[in-house]
Amino acid sequence: MNGSPSPPEPALSTPLLAASGIFKHFGDFTANDDVSFQIEEGEIHALLGENGAGKSTFVKMVYGLLQPDAGSLEWRGEQIAIRSPQHARDLGIGMVFQHFSLFQALTVAENIALALPGDESLEDLAARVRQMSTDYGIGVDPDARIHNLSVGEQQRVEIVRCLLQDPSLLIMDEPTSVLTPQETTQLFEVLRRFSENGVAILFISHKLEEIRSLTRRATVLRRGRNVGTVDSASKSSKQLAEMMVGGSVGDIDRQARPDSEPDILFEVRGLDRPPTTAFATPLRGLSFAARAGEILGIAGIAGNGQDELMEALTGEWTGRGRDVIRIDGRDVTADGPARRRQCGIGFVPEERNGHAAVPGMTLADNALLTSHSLGGTVGRGVIDSAACREMAAAVSRDFDVRLPQDNPMASALSGGNLQKFVVGREISKRPKVFIVSQPTWGVDVGAALFIRRAMLELAEAGSAVVMISQDLEEIFAISHRVAVLHDGVISTPMVTAEVTAETVGLLMGGSMPLDGAPDMDKGEAGDTA
């Protein structure tokens, strides 16, 4: 990851793809405003920008999913209109989507066959997939069904699927957001090998460090405009972030945890959860505690029990036993979400749409959903609409939620704005304990910064925050202590300032034993001391 990219070659040859003056409007909204862009053969080029900056719109036009309103595209020096994804693939453009476009019910080979022209037999195709797996060191079993694969494996299937089409340009939309640091390193090695073989890669990411280590040049989009193509290695992460946001980006100062041990506000002791379906991860003997004034980060790769843990913490799933989950000394093991909220807990689950918020309801109604049991919004069974609207408006004001209209539907907000709303809705209640899963998943840099600051302020004010996150940068940016969840077992929390990302990454990948877990008695005196 630290090999410095070679300097840009002088662009004597015609670029592989050149876009000039691309415009795209959706109604009144201009998604792409005079975007020009060039990528050379075999080049790894980053496309940077906040959510809504027009990155997806742009690559969708390159991939033929959308048509530009104005401007021209040149492919190998020839002006061209890319009419459809099929056309794009025929030209040699492949794309790996952020949300995988795989068919869950089908096998790997069937999935790949669907993306390829011609009538190759599945047996021949499976053989080619195996060959490619060995050639590039990408482990993929052609006979496996997609829904049995981990996210990282699914991504490899996507990549193999693209590569079998022998593309000369590979577009990757936020490919590392689901990978461990080690998997990311492997992916980068594979991508570099492609690049050496002449495949150009257009790499969309918001992880600035990655962009600096992998790509040679970066093009930054802001509000639909190209604000410059830069030599990625020559800019610092902060400079790149500022180009994206268009202003200065503040740093987050994580306050050192006080030396004294403040009160435990939230405690989990020996949480067991048997699997409810064949694919659920059983939780085995989870124990951890969050103290007043700290953010406890729970790192781990998706599918290692995060969803199951979150449900157990919120009370969507309740287990048996006594004193398994305690809030400020009170046993809430048998209580559901509403009772737990009454005890002073606030939750934000991972999925914004449909879990944290109801997309088809207004913000006021969504505000009511988590506060009806807390008083102030419901009187004698009748909803106080004015109070709900006022609450939603106050949250929107305090948490910088940009509203397209007064009291809009939740579905009308962009991902970052809705996330600010659902986080703000809980934090504004000043919960004693705040539990959040993936607080900044798929959210732009500005919103992510805002949300992280809000969580730090909440902790400084004396609450305990438990943050389940797959984003190691985030864990290291704001959590005071970090525990790793792997295969339904949690490690002893470690002081974040005293561990390296590599250690945490190894724990996440399961290549290092989770010391002390699940036996906490021994672990208490472990490496945290």
Partner: protein, 304 residues
């Protein structure tokens, strides 16, 4: 006696096999067409009317298929072209088919025609027991087995079948890969209509050679249940149709024999069996994910 009973069971299950195999393809493409009953009735009345006027059973069968297809085409235009709610539109289609077939068929009530000739395969049909049960049926009964085999082969072995399954599993991804989601679904809906029409045609042409209003008597609904019972796998449709057909005949036989089991209980059995299968399927997530179409009943909007 027993041979006759089994023959009746086989004949009762033929329309179920047609309608359910057609609906299986429709549902595998991600569309839920609850209008099977209506399409069968349209097929039945068209088949009977044409057969009577022309005197040709073959033309009757053909007319049944076309009528089912046209009815399904209406459903397809509404559901795929205008993205209407599939459940509501399907229910409306059943009501529409029931009403229109009753209106068109009014002058046909009380008329009778002769059935399709049975094809007795030489030598084979002379075998004891097996000969009569397996090798002496009408052409449509053989056709039903052939259609199941074709559909099974199509889904499992051909690229078209793969594309159809892919569209039923994830229409957005299929669209992103450049497959014509709505086009494939429309073809599937038409095929489903044709098969329902054929199943309907079998009733007045073969099973009871006359026309009566609403003569499908819930067979469309049983076919829908049968698709779920078969967990969207073609060969299981054949097995399920025999079981469901057997239950139907047991009701009649039971009444004739004066059984104490109420016939309502027996007519309930196919649905009960379907519910049990649904419960079993949802317990096995792996199986459910691999076979039930994930996009079933969801409208597709391109460019989202």
């Amino acid at each position: 006696m027993l041979e006759d009973l089994i023959l009746t069971v086989l004949m009762t299950s033929v329309p179920l096999v047609y309608a359910a195999t057609g609906e299986l393809i429709v549902e595998r493409s991600g569309v839920l067409n609850l209008g099977v009953e209506g399409m069968m009735l349209m097929g039945a009345v068209a088949a009977f009317g044409v057969a009577m006027v022309s005197g040709s059973l073959v033309l009757g069968v053909f007319a049944g298929a076309v009528a089912g297809m046209l009815t399904a085409g209406l459903f397809g235009i509404l559901v795929l072209g205008f993205a209407t709610n599939q459940v509501a539109t399907g229910l409306a289609l059943t009501i529409f088919g029931t009403g229109l077939s009753g209106l068109v068929g009014a002058p046909l009530i009380g008329k009778a025609i002769g059935g399709l000739p049975q094809i007795s395969l030489p030598v084979l049909s002379d075998l004891p027991v097996v000969g009569k049960l397996v090798f002496s049926h009408d052409l449509m009964a053989y056709g039903a087995v052939v259609m199941v085999a074709l559909v099974a082969w199509f889904l499992k072995r051909t690229r078209g079948g793969l594309v159809l399954r892919a569209i039923g599993d994830n229409h957005d991804s299929a669209h992103a890969l450049g497959y014509p989601v709505l086009g494939v679904r429309f073809m599937a809906v038409l095929f489903g209509g044709m098969m329902a029409g054929l199943g309907g045609a079998y009733l007045p042409l073969m099973l009871t050679p006359h026309w009566a209003e609403g003569m499908t008597a819930g067979r469309g609904w049983i076919s829908l249940a049968l698709v779920v019972f078969a967990s969207w796998m073609p060969w299981r449709v054949l097995v399920g149709a025999l079981i469901f057909g057997g239950i139907t005949i047991m009701q009649l036989a039971g009444q004739a024999e004066g059984w104490t089991v109420p016939s309502q209980f027996l007519s309930m059995l196919p649905y009960l069996a379907t519910i049990i299968v649904l419960v079993l399927i949802s317990r096995n997530r792996d199986f459910a994910l691999a076979n039930s179409p994930a996009c079933l009943g969801r409208a597709f909007h391109a460019g989202k």
